[in-house]
Amino acid sequence: MKILVCMKQVPQKDAPLKLNESGTWIREDVSYEVNEPDAYALEEALRQKEKHGGEVVVITSGPARAQQVLREALAKGADRAIHLEDNAFVGLDALNTAKAFAAAIKDERFDLIFTGLQSDDYGYAQTGVILAELMGWPHATIIMQIEKNDAGIRVKRELEAGFFQFVDMPLPAVLTIQSGINKLRYATLIGIKQAKNKPLRKVTLAEVQPAFGENLQKIERLYIPQKTKKTEHIEGSPSEIAKKLVDKLRNELRVL
């Protein structure tokens, strides 16, 4: 099977974020990492390839720094990479991002496209589903298991509140992958070495720009959320904190 994995570079989970001067985006001088669900999507693609043969291609959009997620994916076993390289891609809405990806892969023939179920920065949870519609393919979301069969694939969808559902679907298809579908592997030293010689195709903004238009939605302002709850800080040495908290739990909240 030939599988494309859409990956995104996002600020590290613990990285403190600062707003830019215009208050419309974060300052870019933070540490980045791969969007966590995308790492699971890559792992699943590698496992499918190990079972059924084929090829795993990874794609991302963003400035030069975003190449790091592709390098890591190649080191883990992806065969080649596509980088839509321009800072302008960071500000695209989900529809335009999907249109840019569709334009960049128009000469390719994939059986499956994987995305993570959502990104840790915008959190829209839309790009994969939109991409499916643009390709004219069926999709399934929040996937926890994939089995290939003669007619196509059987996937396990996660529903809410602990429910699941198997869905049979034809190929080609787009799947959005849930974190925890598998156990992530680490890149090996030899993998990291081999990654340096694997093909990485760069796509410029100009190449795909004809495919998309103006964003259909706009972030007017980004800000630190207003607190709705009054929070009391408990301070002191660990043993003082422990005493104070137990006193509150017992005498004020009466839960002990």
């Binding site: 600020p11 989970k13 613990d14 974020l17 707003l19 974060i26 989900a94 529809l95 840790d120 920065d121 959190g123 829209y124 839309q126 589903v129 939109i130 499916a132 519609e133 643009l134 069926p138 399934a140 979301t141 969808r157 996660e158 529903l159 809410e160 509140a161 602990g162 429910f163 699941f164 559902q165 198997f166 049979d168 679907m169 034809p170 849930q178 974190s179 925890g180 103006e214 259909l216 939605q217 706009k218 007017e220 980004l222 630190i224 959320p225 607190k227 709705t228 709850k229 929070t231 009391e232 800080h233 660990p238 043993s239 904190i241 908290l245 137990v246 739990l249 017992r250 909240l253 839960v255």
Partner: protein, 331 residues
């Protein structure tokens, strides 16, 4: 025709998903602010009884959008049913709850119509004739005001818990219900969904727990779960976790709190090393008292905590266990 808001509610096996009432409340609030008309719709093979339930609320009209092909749910059928109907009906704004089902079809529906979705919103503002939606970004560390720059219909989804479902205003007289029979051509539906099921091992019910000690990434290693368990035992409470802990297999999936796990409302929720991503917070923000221990003073969990302890949980928890034991022994 005046501008209208259409709330599309969600049904599961003939029952209204209760989060839909929150979206009705949201729709009523936006209608009150903008002066736009509020209507509601429900999709299904037979949607009449839910339509009647909706008609008891303060809405101008309710649509029962029906086709035998709408059950079981598929994104293909939902988009095929709604796209032509919305294209001719032209509501200004379409609202839905941000459920897994809506996430599965609404981006497709909007794309078919050449429109966009502002998803997972937590509120709105209407100022100087401009409607702005507020949503969380960067896992809740920042918030954003987002507006539509496209033609209507506009699509927005609201996060679970953003509005109070029990505050949906009732109608003086029931709203009229119109049945809309939609045609879905053969061959449109490509996916074949099987029966919905629950994993057999799903044994722990945390929804009734009064005290929950919950661990996140800050616990670092599987062996460290033990000190959280000791604290839970000392408090007479249950042990739970955020998603990454269950993904790693350090605790079973049925101990997971959040959008993909259980939604809980204990008297006391003690969050140890949990940063407070949105997906976790939606599962526990209903707790009466939230105590958070985290070394990162900017962790989003502190936004909703009643008591904040900024520090290393490995320093705090051991003396806490001792103090709890003393208190429980009556000391």
């Amino acid at each position: 025709m005046p501008d209208s808001i259409l709330v599309v509610v969600e049904q599961r096996e003939g029952k209204l998903n209760r989060v839909s009432w929150e979206t009705i409340t949201a729709g009523q609030a936006i209608a009150a602010a903008t002066g736009w008309t509020l209507e509601a719709a429900v999709l299904g093979a037979s949607a009449g009884s839910i339509a009647a339930e909706l008609a008891a609320k303060k809405v101008a009209k309710v649509y029962a959008v029906e086709s035998p092909k709408l059950e079981p749910y598929t994104s293909d059928a939902f988009a095929a049913a709604l796209a032509p109907w919305l294209a001719s009906k032209q509501p200004k704004l379409v609202l839905m709850p941000h459920t897994y089902q809506v996430r599965d079809f609404v981006p497709k529906l909007a794309t078919v119509l050449g429109r966009t979705v502002i998803s997972d919103c937590v509120g709105f503002r209407y100022e100087n004739g401009k409607l702005v939606f507020t949503r969380q970004m960067f896992q809740g560390k920042l918030a954003a005001d987002v507006r539509f720059t496209s033609e209507s219909p506009w699509f927005a989804t609201f996060q679970n818990g953003s509005f109070r479902g029990d505050q949906a205003e009732a109608a003086a007289n029931p709203a009229p219900v119109e049945t809309v029979n939609v045609q879905i051509a053969d061959g449109i539906i490509r996916n074949k969904p099987q029966e919905v099921f629950k994993e057999a091992k799903q044994a722990v019910d945390l929804t009734q727990a009064e005290i929950i000690v919950s661990v996140g990434r800050g616990i670092k290693e599987q062996k460290n779960i033990e000190i959280a368990k000791q604290l839970a035992d000392a408090l007479g409470g249950d042990l739970a976790a955020s998603r990454p802990i269950c993904d790693s297999g350090w605790l079973p999936m049925d101990r997971q709190i959040g959008s993909s796990g259980q939604t809980v409302a204990p008297k006391l929720y003690l969050a140890l090393g949990i940063s407070g991503a949105i997906q976790h917070i939606v599962g526990m923000k209903g707790a009466r008292t939230i105590v958070a221990v985290n070394k990162d003073s900017e962790a989003p969990i502190f936004e909703i905590a009643d008591y904040a302890i900024v520090g290393n949980l490995f320093d705090i928890v051991p003396p806490l266990i001792e103090e709890v034991k003393k208190a429980m022994a009556g000391g």
